[in-house]
Amino acid sequence: MAKVVIARQQYSYAVKFEGWAPGDREAKTKHIKIEADSDFLARNQVVATEGGSSAAVAQMMLIVRDVASGRMFMNEPLPVDALFGSGEFPYHIPLGGRLWYLSQLIEVVCYPSPGFVGEVPAFELVFNGEKLFLGGDYVPE
């Protein structure tokens, strides 16, 4: 039997990286914990830079994966600029979005692109979408 979506709510999950000093190439890991009250359908992705050079943020490499299964959402690290847009022009996730289940733990790893030695300002990766509140059972006829 399948669960029925009884309510939907606009919501955003975000993860903030505090920035890198010049010459700092350490990879930093952050986690997104999907709240236990609902699933989350991520529809678009946005990066917001807190001052500083947006070009420095755009070249940052990232990996996103599901901690429980270890499954990555890309075959190799990709630049932020390839997967995250702006509020004006967000990156729309193909075919409606990506579904993350309640209590799922998502890991985001970021590091400067090889060869980049400049300063990277703090930035926030935002996943905009909707909470899907489930309840009841769908019993097909």
Partner: protein, 154 residues
């Protein structure tokens, strides 16, 4: 066409149900390929190896070569050829400028008809640097959906 002919719409192709009736589930995914230090006037080749666990439906394509804002964005003077090595079929009649078929996350190039790649297949990406300077790095990303079918479990 007769009334019995069935037109496959883009939406159906994206859902892959017409192409592969035994689809179990789908999940968004991105395949990337990186080229480093492409010499001036030189060529480079890379492969997208579709993982064995699922087929892949390409929805949009993006490239990144430096810069960030719309005014500072670097559009490399590069031409690209995509070849589905399984069939040997090229996806274009001739090498095309990368800016013609690759966008950015803000404005990605959305394929007119999503390209379906079977599991274990290889998409060859050949690029030629037509500028007079070395291109330090070029990232190409193919964003889409993994299609898990019953046959992928064999």
């Amino acid at each position: 066409m007769s009334q019995n002919d069935r037109v496959i719409t883009a939406e159906e192709a994206m859902g892959a149900y017409v192409l592969v009736p035994d689809t179990v589930t789908q999940d968004t995914f991105s395949y990337g390929v990186t080229f480093r230090n492409i010499p001036a006037g030189g060529a480079a080749s890379g492969n997208i190896s579709v993982q064995a666990d699922s087929d892949f439906l390409i929805h949009n394509q993006v490239q990144y070569c430096g810069g960030a804002s719309d005014s500072a964005r670097v559009i490399p003077n590069v031409t690209v050829v995509l070849t589905d090595t399984g069939s040997g079929r090229k996806l274009m009649s001739e090498a095309l400028p990368v800016d013609a078929i690759f966008g950015s996350a803000k404005l990605p190039y959305i394929l007119p008809l999503p390209k379906y790649l079977f599991a274990r297949s290889v998409l060859q990406v050949e690029v030629v640097n037509n500028s007079s300077a070395v291109i330090p790095v070029l990232h190409l990303a193919f964003n889409g959906v993994k299609v898990f079918n019953k046959s992928n479990n064999n």
